[in-house]
Symmetry: C2
């Protein structure tokens, strides 16, 4: 993995989570980085989400460090806002930068007070670890119920040289006692002004993390931050920027797919592709409805080519289409032709559906050019087992 | 149970389902009954849904019989429309009534051709059974994956005497290989013109079956039919009609609750009550989001007072509210006060949550007068087990 220049990473165990696994992470840019971010659309927003939004505004999109903790969402507590300010201020003082250049992010249980001293007291250790800390350490320390760390990177040629993008993310569904927030941090050493970064991230997010569902629940802490510190010394031309957006989208898609594959109790990654809709928005509505259907997801878990559930889910998307013009493929095999059962070898398809990747293609014949894609996972007894357990 | 006058019921096994359990039912009114119905809003609609809608229009809301089969949804097949017409025509000929006075309803697997002969050939047996068939037989024969039949009834005094309402319903979630459609048939012997019946059923349904979710999937066959044959000889005054609507709503609510309690794999009925919203619509949005959250439903299955998941789900409802003004009660115990953790005995509440009924109350302090209620069930490993199994 070719990492972007000019970023340092450090992690430590501050005692926030019950098991002794690193739970506080800092990502520090050697020079102020342009930043853009997208946050949860839940009406209930965690303190770090509110503060990060405010800091980005105050600093006009300039960021020196991200301060992340796992094990506590810092949400719906009496002291949440103060805790977020206190911990960011402490790190800002140590780094000798304005507090608005620190972005906080938290993931973990909701409604439990977070003791700011746990974080403030471990800052010297963290800063001492910056030289030896790695990108992989950070990807691992931000995990909650994730089984594996999730990273992706890319290098691209631009006018006059190369720049890199590298990202990490976490999230697995929601596991008790934690709300498994999606957090994602993406770094690049390209030089891109914050004003340009914002719309690029918005569009790239729309086609990646916004196309991801594990259980249809949106957390109070979801945060995706993109930093561009310019450490490569390379500025981007208008043409370069377009390619950068494409490459960034691929990196984000890769991260989103990794979250779906690691969904709670999941045994398979499901990719839902819709084509022939009036426009991309309608296609996305249909793809989302199929990806969110517990019936489709349990059928895939059982390696069952039950296309009736797919067309039924699509019918609930609030999009007009003629069922008699719908073709459905599973693993590339036509299971529904013009809205009716197609002939296929059920035995062979059931075997194909036993694989770790499931592809569902829903096409409206002679429809428009709108297409979309959604990522999700199958729905197994493991999900229920994980989420129904007591808080102990 | 006091049954309405002037209705007969008969059931038989026609060989549509694999197990030898009655799968065809007729409900016959001695005289033409006024009728109103509500159907699925899925874009994909089964043949019997389309035909029933057409018949109601042609007959101007007059109905003599309902013809119901379980084991096959008669949906997404080549011959579906013809099958629905042929079977209704055959029954109409036997009863010597216009075919438009027969309403068809089907529930079962999607995408498998239904042989009309199976139904047509058993009509003589069915008509022969009308004298001995019971309301309970019918409630049992319309079941698919339901564990128990579901019925409710009420008697009310009107000017000059009494009238009765009795209803039956089926539905349990979606079980493979069947789409467990919701069907409901409600009979009254009150005399109410079809034109008055329609808005009454629409409003009563809005506050009962429309407030029910098992897994958030809407089937292609959902049908609720209300018949009023006037066999009691009693017409209703405007005041009587208002009471009738209230009683009907209670009967439908009762039936909807029975479906939630019998949801696939369910161990508990969950009632979600929302108060203090701007209006009923907003309150319903919040209640629906909480009732549909797999995280809330798995927490209830695990007897876990995890209110963070409730406020998080509410935050995703697309309704504005101040989280700091939210109180949440579970089983009557305050678990969240003004958006923050309340003090309560977790041990005692966990025990209370072990009961077969779970009540969640979500109140916005100092908000509007909008309130609503939603019925659902908990989410257990049983649901996944049932829906992930192979088609065999």
């Amino acid at each position: 993995m070719k990492l972007p220049l000019g970023y340092q990473y450090a992690t430590t165990y501050a005692g926030i989570r019950k098991t002794a696994k690193d739970d506080v992470t800092i990502i520090v840019s050697a020079q102020p980085a342009s930043a853009a971010a997208v946050f949860t659309q839940n009406r209930v927003q965690a303190a770090p989400v509110k503060l990060a939004r405010k800091h980005l505004e105050t600093s006009k999109g300039m960021v020196r460090a991200i301060l992340i903790n796992a094990g506590n969402a810092n949400c719906a507590t009496r002291t949440g806002d103060k805790v977020a300010v206190a911990t960011c201020s402490a790190l800002a003082a140590k780094l000798k930068v304005p507090v608005s250049q620190i972005l906080p992010a938290s993931t973990g249980v909701i409604g439990v007070e977070l003791d700011p001293k746990l974080i403030v007291n471990c800052l010297p250790t963290l800063l001492g670890n910056l030289d030896k800390g790695t990108f992989e350490d950070a990807a691992s320390a931000i995990m909650t119920t994730d089984l594996v760390p999730k990273t992706a990177s890319a290098e691209m040629s631009v006018t006059g040289g190369k720049v890199s993008i590298a990202g990490m993310t976490k999230g697995s569904g929601m596991i008790h006692p934690m709300m498994a927030t999606t957090l994602a941090f993406v770094m690049t050493d390209a030089r891109i002004p914050a004003a340009q970064l914002k719309p690029i991230l918005k569009r790239a997010n729309e086609r990646s993390f916004s196309r991801l569902t594990v259980d249809g629940d949106t957390s109070t802490n979801d945060t995706l931050i993109l930093l561009a510190n310019g450490a490569s010394g390379k500025s981007l031309t208008a043409k370069d920027l377009k390619i950068f957006e494409k490459v960034l989208t691929l990196v984000l898609e890769d991260l989103a797919r990794q979250i779906a594959r690691d969904g709670e109790g999941a045994s398979k990654l499901i990719t839902v592709e819709v084509a022939g809709a009036k426009n991309e928005k309608d296609a996305t509505k249909i793809a989302r409805q199929i990806a969110n259907s517990p019936l489709v997801k349990t059928a895939v878990a059982g390696a069952d080519p039950n296309w009736g559930r797919i067309i039924c889910a699509a019918g609930n998307a609030g999009v007009e289409f003629d069922p008699r013009k719908v073709d459905i493929m599973m693993q590339g095999v036509l299971v529904c032709k013009a809205g009716l059962a197609a002939e296929f070898s059920e035995e062979r398809l059931t075997k194909e559906l036993g694989k770790k990747d499931c592809r569902i293609q829903f096409t409206i014949r002679g429809g428009g050019t709108g297409s979309s894609r959604f990522f999700t996972c199958d729905f197994t007894e493991g999900y229920i087992r994980i989420n129904g357990s007591y808080r102990t």
